[in-house]
Symmetry: C2
Subunit: 249 residues, 2 copies
């Protein structure tokens, strides 16, 4: 019962810019696109190692979001198992597909475009929206509008449009929330299943404006005082002009 | 799919002391015991409302742990459904019971007393230990040594000994970690199932010394740099003399 596991994995830090005072959101879209291509290249390289089951890419910005380095960076962690949160999300999507024969994320996108109240922005390839049941105030997702199960399968015009969608979201969040600490996580398919009908890769952006406390740790439920419709409206209406932000520590 | 739920529940704040500068850990054991009796009385009263499925008691101490009031207090939230974390924990315990015909927590207590390296303290009724796979540095659990599924079933000498165990843990944590922010959560059986063979109520004490970041939000796995054996040794060896602590905001 208490056997120790042998560790196997990879942990890489992706430095997003040589400029110590810049942050991902203040880079020009072309430089953000370079960062996305780097994510893709590192995923494709690490996928050659068959021991890895999942490659997680995430970003901690600001001390309150757990960033321990001030210089703008993202992180990649390759894991020998599927993380439990992903396993649960993928299983839910699988069950929905069995029931409806449609991808749940494709259905959400259709429904949100129709309702429009939670949509923050849209371009040729991506939709940015406040999810129906966000855990955190201003939690925002970016999803490819066409079904695509893995981040690394994206075409070049998709990386170009994702960079634009990210630039827009991060600039607007800086305007509305005054350079908030945030976590950004890419949710994508497991390494061995990069093409499937049921899972739809996306980015989850979570500003850290509230603290996770006893209620959340005791239940797995989240108290969120900000309705997603309001958060989406604030972000939708925010100016794209860059504020004079001081990078978070 | 997007129907709204009607809210039903109760939320109570238990003020632990009239003294604004005191904290639960600095109260005399007898006053801590009074707080525990209050928890029990409120649970017994709220259980009369058949719409409640679970009664959660927790405590946020210090701003970093999400406390929004400075004055020492605990909280009670009565919920119309079983929280997902509890449902998972209870289901795991049920599966273990089906397999072994023993309570998994009783087995853990036996094994930890035997191994002794993760035990922090013990009295007639309670054991205080660092769990084998803690999510957080210095995460510590207090469990009744005899099988008991619900907090509110505890006998009077148990409340007396629980107050002593809590006093000891909180005093030692203050000494070792310098008045850390923390969350404390009582894990107990669902309202409708207060007597069962498989679930064993306990308290989880989680000092907030590290930040939950992108890796944790993306995986459900926790990075913890402090081995439980080391945390247990620090707490075991700490003096019970009270430090001159300044209450956290």
């Amino acid at each position: 019962m208490f056997d120790k596991m042998n560790g196997i994995g990879a942990h890489e830090v992706i430095i997003e810019t040589p400029d110590h005072t810049a942050s991902l959101g203040t880079l020009p879209p072309k430089r953000i696109e370079d960062v996305l291509w780097t994510f893709r290249d590192r995923i494709l390289d690490l996928k050659k190692d068959r021991r890895f089951k999942y490659i997680l890419i995430f970003k901690n910005h600001g001390e309150a979001a757990g960033a321990s380095l001030e210089h703008a960076h993202s992180q990649l962690i390759a894991l020998p198992m599927l993380p439990i949160y992903l396993a649960e999300e993928i299983e839910g999507a699988k069950q929905y597909f069995i029931y409806k024969e449609r991808c749940v994320f494709c259905d959400i996108i259709r429904q949100e475009i129709d309702a429009s109240v939670r949509v923050v922005a849209e371009n040729e390839d991506f939709i940015t929206l406040a999810p129906y049941a966000p855990r955190f105030p201003f939690e925002t997702w970016i999803l490819p509008k066409q079904h695509e199960s893995a981040f690394e399968n994206s075409s070049s015009h998709m990386f170009e449009n994702l960079a634009k969608a990210l630039k827009s979201l991060l600039t607007k969040a800086d305007r509305v929330l005054d350079n908030p600490p945030y976590n950004l996580v890419i949710h994508t398919s497991p390494v061995q299943e990069p093409n499937n009908d049921h899972y739809h890769w996306h980015i989850e952006f979570m500003p850290k404006l509230t603290k996770t406390a006893g209620f959340e740790w005791g239940t797995g439920f989240y108290i969120n005082p900000t309705p997603p419709e309001e958060a989406a409206k604030f972000l939708r209406d925010a100016s794209m002009e860059e504020a004079n932000v001081v990078p978070a520590g």
